[in-house]
């Protein structure tokens, strides 16, 4: 009886095109959209890739002594490995080409650059960021390296001036140290951006990995809603009446429903994990067993939540509204839509999504069992409590009267 009900549940759900799309296609689209659009937000690890030189537009307005040195710097192999410099006369043209995606980065060196450096004034140049976060990082590092060289030489010149060496005779004034300080500070600031860890003491996944986890957790939680709506539909179309009039024990009916919906959730998890790996290259870590355990705990929690809700809520709109509120709130608080360290650290632990997401992220990062267990155990505890609540509410769910 139980398996007959389970198979029927599975068949009915999988026969509906709209449910197939919402269950299997939409989550993958969400992973792709969130993962690709937020990968350059600075909150996630940038995926390592082989360096490919990108075009950088250089507007060299400086005709001073440093211009020649800069031109020579650009011919170095270490620079060419990253950047293919192209000279432009007009800053606006560079901006336009960057906007069109034809240039990856832009650098505008003002006409007063050498003069400012040599006279000890605050010197600056303009970096125009391109569309690619990684290319921007590479360009800032490369051009930052040039400033480091200039500053080092200035430092040497300053030292030589005090000791009366030839560098002092070349006319590099002591005040040029300002550039060194300024540029060094700028480098630190840029470096600080690069080094910011969006999850602080947490694992550092790529955006695709992060959103694969958050969307998987969110959709696993929604399977509880499917269970509640399916039971409600049985009541509303009177098939529950007919099933209960057949020689079917109430727990067989409930078990059949739970198994059917859980099988759909398992199929969904396998589909999302496999497809996100093949299509988006998401690395789910080496410990597939641990991943399965977390998914099962999540499914148990979700089903239990659905059972408790259908015991007390008898309208589809209310069930959907309640689930939407719970799932979206938990996902947001646990950083599922966007990582917010403070909220995640303070309110996050009160949500189911937090423990599920952190467990999966640690499995992804191959964090080791002791670290992962720290997050899996609370998840198992929540699943256990919800399961007991569902058992307690069981009579109310299958009460025909």
């Amino acid at each position: 009886m139980m398996w007959n009900i389970a198979v029927n549940e599975l068949r009915r759900q999988l026969q509906m095109i709209s449910i197939l799309v919402v269950t299997f296609i939409v989550p993958l689209l969400l992973i792709f959209l969130l993962g690709s659009s937020l990968s350059g937000s600075g909150k996630f690890k940038v995926e390592s890739r082989d360096p490919e030189p990108f075009k950088a537009g250089i507007v060299q307005q400086d005709q001073g002594v440093l211009a020649q040195a800069f031109a020579q710097f650009l011919t170095a192999d270490d620079v060419r490995q990253w950047i293919e410099p192209i000279a432009y006369a007009d800053r606006e043209e560079v901006i336009r080409l960057i906007r069109d995606g034809k240039l990856g980065f832009g650098l505008v060196i003002p006409s007063t650059f050498s003069d400012d450096v040599l006279n000890g004034r605050q010197a600056s140049w303009e970096m125009i960021m391109g569309n690619d976060y990684a290319n921007n990082l590479a360009a800032k590092s490369v051009f930052g390296a040039y400033l480091d060289i200039v500053n080092t030489q200035q430092a040497l010149a300053l030292t030589a001036e005090h000791t009366g060496s030839s560098a002092a005779k070349n006319g590099i004034p002591p005040a040029a140290g300002t550039l060194m300080q300024g540029s060094a500070g700028e480098q630190q600031n840029e470096a600080a951006i690069v080094e910011v860890n969006p999850m602080q003491d947490q694992p550092n996944p790529t955006a695709m990995q992060y959103y694969s986890v958050s969307i998987l957790v969110m959709y696993m939680l929604y399977t509880g809603m499917s269970l509640a709506i399916s039971i409600l539909a049985d009541r509303q179309n009177y098939t529950f009446h007919r099933i209960m009039a057949a020689p079917v024990r109430p727990y067989s009916y409930m078990s059949g429903k739970l198994i059917g919906q859980s099988l759909i959730a398992v199929c969904q998890a396998i589909f999302m994990i496999a497809l996100s790996h093949w299509l988006f290259g998401v690395d789910w870590g080496r410990d597939i067993g641990a991943l399965v355990i977390v998914c099962l705990l999540l499914i148990v929690s979700s089903m239990a939540l659905g059972s408790v809700i259908i015991a007390y809520v008898r309208e589809e709109k209310s069930i959907k509204g309640l689930f939407q509120f719970l799932v979206i709130t938990m996902t947001a608080i646990s950083g599922g839509f966007f990582p917010i360290s403070e909220v995640q650290a303070t309110v996050g632990p009160f949500t189911l999504s937090h423990w599920a997401m952190q467990s999966m992220l640690r499995i992804m990062m191959n964090g080791g069992w002791s670290d992962t267990l720290h997050y899996v155990l609370p998840l198992a505890g929540i699943a256990g409590v919800l399961f007991l609540l569902a058992v307690w509410s069981f009579r109310k769910v299958v009460n025909y009267a």
């Binding site: 007959n4 009915r12 179309n237 009177y238 009446h241 009039a245 057949a246 020689p247 024990r249």
Partner: protein, 315 residues
């Protein structure tokens, strides 16, 4: 042998008895018409019989098995056709029947044969692959029946199976009921359509306020209880106060048992209309009510029901 034996059954909700010490026996092979106005306790009795509701007192046995002590065995012997359509719209007609038949343990060839027979009986063999969403109301009703009979139950309970359908489907269903009965199933049939019950029932029970107030063959009931004539007097539009006063005076007449107004027709029940027509006309003319026509009906289930319960079946 009794297929159904209801002994002193009580069902209470919040201390109020909805079924009050009900006793009823239905013999094997009967088509038992169960009648009663809304709230009489018919559905509650059926739900207790099918194990859907617990019994507050007494016991019910089906085929000699107690519903209280062995509900699953009882359920195996019953096919319930609920009053409301209980089918999955997104599954084909055949898949619906297969699913419900499997709940009764049917597998393999027995399942195939049972499903084919059920489809054949309700005339849906050629639509087996279609989904009920494309069916007419009558076809859905027939599928509703097919889902209850594929496992060849010994007792089939049909709770108003012809509500809201076309005459063709109604005739088909009534024919199907007779065929099922001829094939050996005992049938309990409830309906608001008195003519259906008259047409197919071998025995009739009338419930009112949780009790069985009459039971027997139609002939027995008419002989024993139903001696009343039903007189329908069609009247012209008259002031309500005059009509009410006339009805009040009619009810004071020693021979008149019931008098009520249905639209512009006075329904009057009396043992024999012969000796009272003058009196009735006198009372109506006294209240300045113009009579358009008279119609006298021989005793039937409708008049019997009205006589016993004081209400129309569809009230």
């Amino acid at each position: 042998m009794n297929m159904v034996q209801i002994r002193n059954v009580v069902k209470k909700y919040n201390g109020k008895a909805v079924v009050d010490h009900l006793n009823l026996a239905i013999e094997e092979g009967e088509i038992f018409g169960l009648l009663g106005p809304n709230g009489a306790g018919k559905s509650t009795t059926i739900h207790m019989l099918t194990g859907l509701l617990p019994i507050s007192g007494g016991d019910i046995s089906v085929d000699g098995i107690s519903v209280k002590h062995n509900p699953l065995e009882v359920k195996r012997r019953i096919g319930l056709v609920p009053q409301d359509l209980a089918i999955y719209e997104q599954m084909s007609a055949r898949d619906n029947i297969v699913f419900f038949a499997k709940l009764y343990g049917l597998r393999g060839k027995a399942l195939e044969a049972g499903v084919d027979e059920a489809l054949e009986l309700v005339g849906l063999s050629d639509r087996r692959k279609d989904k009920p969403a494309s069916f007419s109301g009558g076809m859905k009703r027939r599928l509703n029946i097919a889902c209850a009979i594929a496992h060849r139950p010994r007792l089939i309970i049909m709770d108003e199976p012809t509500v809201g359908i076309d005459p063709h489907s109604r005739n088909h269903i009534l024919e199907s009921v007779k065929q099922l009965n001829e094939a050996g199933s005992t049938i309990i049939y409830t309906s608001h359509y008195m003519e259906e019950v008259e047409a197919i029932s071998t025995k009739v029970g009338i419930m009112n306020q949780g009790r069985l107030i009459a039971c027997g063959t139609q002939h027995q009931l008419k002989e024993d209880i139903g001696q009343d004539d039903k007189l329908t007097v069609t009247i012209s539009l008259s002031p309500d106060s005059e009509v009410d006063a006339a009805i009040g005076e009619l009810l004071e007449h020693p021979r008149i048992k019931q008098a009520s107004l249905q639209e512009n027709a006075l329904q009057i029940l009396l043992p024999s209309a012969d000796g009272s027509l003058q009196d009735i006309l006198f009372i109506l003319s006294k209240h300045r009510i113009l009579v358009q026509s008279f119609e006298r009906e021989e005793p039937n289930l409708e008049t019997l029901f009205m006589s016993l319960t004081g209400r129309q079946l569809r009230d």
